[in-house]
């Protein structure tokens, strides 16, 4: 069984929001709901400055607080590591939103249920990359099987010394190069 993961290189990311809109289209989200949030940081004093943009979405944690707090089992982890929400079971109590350390969850107002990045499971099942990866104009994202030692994502993790954004807080399947 594969264990899916993603990597994002903020050195490449130009903060263009293409991934946000591609994701909204793929998942048919209204303009105000997005699975990807953007954080930016400016450092230094003119003219010696630097700037970083960090897009954050569901980190697909193995030790997922959203799953452990969910009172209805609506939030669950698939065998391939993808963390999902079963919208039929979700009561919209937002406990998972409070529990998610990465603020990765959104309220889907049309149904009152909770939404988040699902690693484009329907595309991945057809052997394709997630929409945000495909569309990334800076090739900043890599998707793949973390259990396959030869996968491209594992190579990039090793080469670039990619890290989880919050250490091993939640044993996430998402890596950052920063």
């Amino acid at each position: 069984m594969a264990r899916y993961g993603m990597l994002l290189d903020t050195g490449k990311c130009v903060g263009c929001y293409a991934c946000r809109v591609a994701c909204q289209m793929q998942n048919e989200l209204p303009p105000g709901e997005s699975y990807i949030k953007f954080y930016e940081n400016e450092t230094g004093v003119f003219p010696n400055v630097n700037h970083e943009i960090v897009p954050v979405q569901c980190q697909h944690c193995e030790d997922a607080p959203c799953v452990s707090v969910c009172p209805t089992t609506a939030s669950y982890i698939r065998e391939d590591g993808i963390v999902m929400v079963d919208h039929f079971k979700c009561i919209g109590c937002k406990y998972c939103m409070e529990a998610c350390p990465y603020d990765a969850r959104e309220i889907h107002h049309a149904t009152g249920t909770i939404d988040k990045c699902v690693f484009c499971q329907s595309l991945v099942e057809q052997g394709e990359d997630p929409a945000c990866v495909t569309t990334c104009i800076a090739d900043a994202r890599v998707f793949g099987d973390l259990d396959d030692p030869n996968s491209h994502i594992n190579q990039v993790i090793a080469e670039q010394n990619a890290q989880h954004i919050a250490g091993d807080l939640t044993k996430s399947n998402f890596y950052y190069v920063r």
Binding site: V14, A18, M25, E28, F88, S122, T135, I137
Partner: protein, 732 residues
């Protein structure tokens, strides 16, 4: 079209089905609105192909529909500009087909300035009469059309004008890169390609791939930076690509010419230029060497505010890495159209690259052939009449390529009574080419203004007749090409509004009404067939079925050491008398910008602008998915340097007032260390003025709000950043 049925999310759909039979309160609603991936397991998904129309890159893409409605789009893997990816604008703009602000019927302006719906027949008939009257009184040279070149738009609008005998066909370039085009035209004819994959050092001057996007270029650049490509970013602003650069040269805006002259001076005085290249492929070098003699790094330091040592260092570094080093040809901001000295600045970059000897070399810049389309011949395509007069404005701007022309001089022509009837296709000059009030006033003086658009643009507000086009995703277009790839925009979704008509139909019917119908006795399909006639059969077939195909070309040149300049003598002209005709010197020289804010006046700035990744020019602020990002992240704020803001008592998020000789506008401040203190910066897309485009109303300012109506005398470009503004904090 390829058909496929999407696999649903089985678990949930069986669960929903089981419970549905029980029936609950709002269950029906819930199910209706619930997730497509769970609710519509057997929605029918179809895929067709098109090219994006949200900017001039025309990225190839696949259109996915679900039950006949647009679902999503995806970048074409073979199209050179998308290479599988698409930018946010592409995804967002595709939804424009369903936008509430779509034009759905021809409109006619009433006496009181309001608009009424009329029939196509009435619109054609009245426009036709007015056109005939103008021709009878002033000749066809009193007609003009401006368009932002898109496949069908470019072809039909040019043929439409030419069929009258008028050469007055203009593009958006006067507000984009006309200065640069003019500079290339008389040095090496056209812009080269860049060999990023093998380059060691690249200098960007006012060009950010991450802001002013071409997706494949961005992707390629990011990967080459990882490979070790050294980037030098010259920009008054730390732009979205600057974090990839080793050096950020925070130059004072409008002074790039001084920097390049000084770098040239370093190469010449230290003899770091490519002597072989200079000898074999250039003329006039000695005059050039003499001309840059006095432009020392110390001299440039005063003007640019960059340290002389830094100027010297980067020049030497570029020379060290040559020929695998070049100044990227850039696009709009620094020398596309912005300043009084833009043409000269562009010329300087071309010549500096010659000093590096990078043309034709691996890791440098090179030329190659693109797709050659078949000619339009035979009984369906009647030969066009001889033009009655040269392009309007070409006497005043003799150096300017007539393929673009200055669309600004046309507006001046209205005031002088030379131009009487104007057509605009996919073009919004009122808010895009100079300040809205000024351009609008001029349009109001014309006898006839016809705007063909998809929404009520600022320009449409000044039209006598507005004709509703379909959106690109609803129509088929004539072929176009990028490099060695040809594309045909295929229809992705059925027409959304019955009474809209595709561009080809509009022009064909307009031509009929204006008495030139005999030149339009063909369909789009006829044009496609004629243009792709020379291609091998399998390419033709692929094009018609999949929309995008690689075409075999004879000379897809690669960097092989020989520059292969497209000009006549295969040489770069360092000094040339041709420039005298246009009012410039035979030799390169320092030219002051028209305005220069005095840094001692604490509230005085230049207003500069730039692209923002999520918007295109003036046309995307009404796209809900895009403008929401602006709102979520306050992207409409006007940047101001921290120190200057402090001195003016301005804090992040404060309301400020920006005033100039042209207008006074309120704005919200973004206080940042990422900007040169002498300027304020805005994303160039906001300040929407059409009352019909409500989504972006009230957000930000338009970059043209403070630009006076003027033209660079050498190319006719709009000098979009020649301005002087005063900033003050507004009381809350």
């Amino acid at each position: 079209m390829t058909k496929l049925t999407r696999r649903g999310f089985l678990k949930a759909s069986t669960a929903t089905a089981a419970v549905a039979t029980l029936g609950t309160l709002s269950y029906q609603d819930w199910q209706k609105q619930a997730y497509a991936s769970e609710g519509e397991a057997d929605a029918e998904v179809q895929i067709s192909s098109s090219t994006c129309n949200a900017c001039s890159n025309k990225c190839g893409l696949e259109v996915f529909t679900k039950n006949g409605k647009l679902w999503k789009i995806k970048g074409s893997n073979i199209h050179p500009n998308s290479l599988g990816t698409l930018c946010a604008r592409g995804h967002g703009f595709a939804t424009n087909a369903y936008n509430d602000a779509r034009l759905t019927s021809p409109l006619k302006k009433n006496e009181d300035g309001t608009f009424s719906e009329i029939s196509w027949e009435q619109a054609y008939q009245e426009i036709g009469e007015k056109v005939k009257k103008i021709i009878a009184e002033d000749g066809p040279q009193a007609l003009a059309i401006t368009q932002d070149p898109r496949p069908s738009g470019k072809f039909y609008s040019k043929r439409f004008m030419n069929a009258f005998g008028s050469q007055n066909v203009y593009t958006h370039h006067a507000a984009c890169n006309l200065s640069k085009l003019t500079a290339y035209a008389h040095t090496i004819k056209k812009e080269p390609k860049c060999d990023f994959n093998n380059a060691d050092a690249v200098m960007f001057i006012g060009r950010s791939f991450g802001d002013g996007i071409k997706p494949s270029a961005m992707k390629n650049l990011a990967n080459n930076v990882k490979r070790g490509l050294h980037i030098i970013m010259v920009d008054p602003r730390f732009n979205a690509t600057a974090h990839m650069a080793k050096d950020w040269l925070a130059i004072r805006p409008g002074t790039d010419l001084a920097l390049i002259l000084a770098m040239s001076n370093v190469l010449v005085t230290e003899e770091l230029y490519d002597k072989d290249f200079i000898e074999n492929y250039t003329t006039g070098f000695d005059e050039f060497a003499e001309a840059v003699k006095d432009y020392t790094p110390e001299w440039a330091a005063e003007i640019t505010t960059l340290p002389a040592s830094k100027i010297k260092e980067v020049a030497e570094f570029m020379a060290e890495k040559a020929p695998k080093a070049f100044i990227e040809p850039s696009w709009r901001a620094a020398f596309g159209c912005s300043y009084y000295n833009s043409t000269e600045t562009a010329r300087a970059t071309i010549l500096f690259n010659a000093l590096l000897g990078c043309y034709g070399k691996k890791g440098g810049m090179y030329y190659g052939d693109g797709v050659k389309f078949g000619k339009l011949e035979g009984p369906k395509f009647k030969k066009l009449p001889e033009p009655v007069a040269p392009q309007y404005g070409s006497d005043r701007f003799p150096l300017t390529p007539t393929g673009s022309g200055s669309s600004v001089v046309v507006a001046e022509g209205i005031e002088k009574g030379d131009i009487k009837g104007l057509f605009y296709y996919q073009s919004n000059p009122v808010i895009g080419y100079t300040n809205a009030e000024d351009f609008g006033k001029r349009l109001d003086m014309a006898d006839l203004v016809v705007v063909i658009d998809v929404q009520m643009s600022e320009t449409a507000m000044h039209a006598h007749y507005v004709l509703p086009d379909t959106t690109y995703i609803e129509r088929m277009e004539v072929p176009s090409s990028t490099g060695t790839v040809a594309d045909v925009r295929l229809q992705g979704i059925p027409k959304v509004h019955e009474n809209t008509r595709p561009v080809d139909q509009i022009f064909t019917e307009l031509a009929e009404a204006c008495g030139i119908g005999e030149y339009f006795t063909f369909t789009v399909q006829d044009v496609i067939d004629a243009q792709i006639a020379p291609f091998p059969d399998e390419v033709k077939e692929k094009l018609l079925k999949e929309g995008i195909a690689k075409v075999p070309v004879e000379n897809p040149k690669k960097p092989d050491g020989d520059p292969h300049f497209p000009n006549d003598d295969n040489k770069i002209h360092f000094a040339d008398d041709v420039w005298l005709e246009g009012g410039l010197g035979r030799n390169i020289q320092w030219i002051e910008p028209k305005y220069m804010p005095n840094p001692d006046n604490i509230d005085e700035f230049r207003l500069i602008a730039g692209k923002q990744s999520i918007h295109s020019h003036t046309m995307t602020t009404n796209i809900p998915h895009l403008i929401q990002i602006t709102k979520d992240y306050d992207l409409d704020r006007v940047w101001i340097n921290t120190k200057r803001a402090e001195a003016l008592g301005i804090k992040e998020g404060d309301k400020i007032e920006i005033s100039s000789e042209v207008s006074t506008t309120p704005a919200i401040a973004h206080v940042t260390e990422r900007l040169h203190p002498d300027c304020i910066w805005t994303a160039s897309h906001y300040g929407t003025k059409s009352p019909y485009l409500t989504e972006g109303a009230g957000l930000g300012i338009s970059s043209m709000d403070h630009t006076p109506f003027h033209m660079e005398p050498f190319s006719g470009s709009n000098m979009s950043q020649e301005n002087l503004v005063h900033v003050k904090k507004m009381e809350a």
